[in-house]
């Protein structure tokens, strides 16, 4: 059962997305801010990370950058999720090393497809 780390500060969205993914058979661990996300990624060693970008204090960009700079977490694929849909965000997502990018509100079918693809590649 693949383990997915969901980093999301909005409680409702965190709850919703984790429950939906669990229904698809994924094991979900969650983090409510960047700091926590970073440590969870190291401790839990998930198969994939869903990273909300707009987080308080340490934002998603920073977390992704640090994870990709870290030898032990570099291999974990990250999908950036953001409600900001400017093209510069997309570019930035790839720039900081994210493996994919999607917008919120989540198109669930599309997101699960992306997750599936990245897990297969792995």
């Amino acid at each position: 059962m693949p383990k997915i780390l969901l980093v999301e500060d909005n409680e409702m969205n965190r709850d919703m997305l984790s429950r939906r993914l669990e229904r698809r058979g994924y094991h979900i661990v969650t983090a409510g801010d960047g700091e926590q996300g970073l440590s969870m990624a190291r401790v839990e060693a998930p198969d994939l990370i869903l990273m909300d970008i707009t987080l308080p204090e340490m934002d998603g960009w920073e977390v992704a950058r640090l994870l990709k700079a870290d030898e032990s977490t570099r291999h974990i694929p990250i999908i950036a999720l953001t409600a900001r849909v400017l093209m510069s965000d997309q570019a930035k997502a790839f720039e900081v090393g994210c493996d994919d990018y999607d917008t919120k509100p989540v198109d669930f079918a599309r997101l699960t497809e992306k997750i599936g693809n990245l897990l297969v590649e792995k």
Binding site: N10, M12, N13, M16, L17, R19, R20, R23, T54, A83, R84, V85, L86, M87, S88, Q90, A91, F94, E95, Y101, T103, K104, P105, V106, F108
Partner: protein, 783 residues
Amino acid sequence: MTGTEVTTSGSYDYRLVALSVLIAVMASYAALDLAARVTAARGRIRFAWLLGGAAAMGTGIWSMHYIGMLAFSLPIPVLYDWPTVLLSLLAAVFTSAIALFVVSRQKMGWLAATVGSIIMGAGIATMHYTGMAAMRLPATCHYSSGIVILSVVLAIVISLVALGLTFRLRNDVKGKWLPKIASAVLMGAAIPVMHYTGMAAAGFGFTGETPDLSHAVSVSSLGITGITIVTFMVLGLAVLTSLIDRRFSILESSEERLRLIINTALDAVITMNAEGLVTNWNSEAEKTFGWSSQEALGRRLSEVIMPQRYREDHERGLLRFLSTGEGMTLRQRTEITALRRDGHEFPVEVATSPVRFGGQWIFSSFIRDITEQKRADEELLRAKLAAEDANRAKSIFLANMSHELRTPLNAIIGYSEMLEEETNELGKVAVVQDLQKIQSAGKHLLALINDILDLSKIEAGKMGLHVETFDVAQMVEELASTVQPAVAKNANTLKVEVTKNAGEMHADLTKVRQILLNLLSNACKFTDRGVISLKVNRRTIDHRDWLEFEVADTGIGFTAEQKENLFREFSQADTSIARKYGGTGLGLAITRRFIQMMRGTITVGSQPGRGSTFTVRLPVEVLAASVEPAPSQLPVAVPAESQSLQPDRGTILVIDDDPAVRDLTSRFLTKLGFQVVTAKSGVEGLQLAKKVHPLLITLDVMMPELDGWCVLKELKADPGLAEIPVIMVTIVDNEPMGIALGASDYLIKPVDRERLAVLVEQYGLDRPSGETSAAFPGRATRH
């Protein structure tokens, strides 16, 4: 005086008669000539001309008369009483004065002409008979009254003709000397006629008595010669004076005219000689620069009108022109800064032309104070920038709003989808339908938010084209299946016809799809149990290939008035439509913007109640002027080595005051195959941008004088430069500011080279380099 009277008849010396006629012609010519001068002159000069002219002309007439008298020789010695002779000369001068006065008036009516010629005729007669009375001879002189009257009448008639002719010919007209001479000959011939008639009126009775000889003198042939010479001299002098005066007055009047033109000009008109000294200074120059012409004349022009810092350049430019004949700012309009007497500096527009005059160069400048114009321009620019700022602020607000709206929507859609799945599993169908309604409402809301965001992106100039090559038929097929649920909703049928040669198209797939989707879903929305058709054709118009998409329906259609509002944002055909059919009224506005971005066209036709047809034409090859590539196309890393093989991929302008940054950046970009131009200040950067029209600009913020924000504003305000993507490269962390001012991207120093390479590739690839290696426009450099 008694005794026998012996009537004596005299004989004429025809040589003297001829001489008298010649003098009459001369006098007439002089009269015509002088009349012109008297007419042209004003005031005292006119009076002087009148007197002098009358004296010359009078002398002429008088001497004609006397020579005529002398031509008549009697077999007795004739002496002349000189006071009477002088009296007759006075009569001649007076008559001439009257004549000149009459002909030199502005107008000559019949009355003036008649009165004038009567006075003149009477004057001539007076002169003639007074002259006759001056004769002292041992004979009595009696007159035949009939002939005397005839001679007076002749004198008056001849005067009338002479006045008329003179009046006609008085104005100096170039090349009209022939009529003048002809009329002089006519008049010269006519005057002796009167004279000899008068002579014929006289009969002489010889008495042998000695007349009163107290003041009498005899006139010898030497005397005749003397009179003739003096007359010719007087007349010649008069004509000569008149000639010289005419020349001068032409010169004077043309100079005066020029002076008036220049002095009343609304531009400062200044001339400078080859030494750089002021030689002309009109009254507008006095007003503009505060120096009177007396003060300015003879001074160095550069010292009078230029701020200190430009003087040296000016003097150097002058020397260069004198030695090479080249001058950057000559023969064209340039804007420079000028100096007023009080030290105030102001902008002027100056046009200077070098003129070769008398073997020397002189420079004439027309200078115009453009302070007001500049101020107006600046205000306009400020207003424009303010408006653009406001518009950008609005766009940023919308973008942020959309983010805020999306977060709760995410929960609404997500939970309702999840619940739907769960309830479905539990078999509670009724609840499932309600959950689907929540979902569909949420998605509708999301679509609206996306529309608003799209529009704000288009307006902020942040919507780019991501062109790719795709198969048209395949795209249409996919579209048809996407739109099928919407078609079925109102029990419509969809007919799709794609021409066999539709082939491939190079365009922004997402936008083409959205354009057609918008049109098709509109068609579905406004049609009930009808037919919706999509036809695709390929056409060649003006040597260009186009794809034509025609979306037609059999729905409610629209009227001509409704058509007006069709493409306007937030407006639908009318408000009742919104209530009945829903929608934001953004769909067609966005559709049209997308079409415009791809340089296509959209036309509409409709019959209310019968349906409507939208025809979209898009170029088969859409030129990408885009900024942002689609994610799938985004190059993640740039193989720097392979790129270096491509020479001259276009020019990139690097604006940074730090020499190290300039050096590093330009080396790095050169490696990628770009030409790099660097500027060490904002001002230089703007100049270079105008000159080389680069593919891309990297811009620092913290620079002395003109900082990066100002440079960015100016770049975006210039229609010729606004399209050039600008990447801010700075230590100042204020991306929203950069984006708000129109920057395409924002990098924080120290610069991540890979990131820079990615950006440069994006923007560099989007524009064909041929377009960017623009010629250096030969614009004059200031100063």
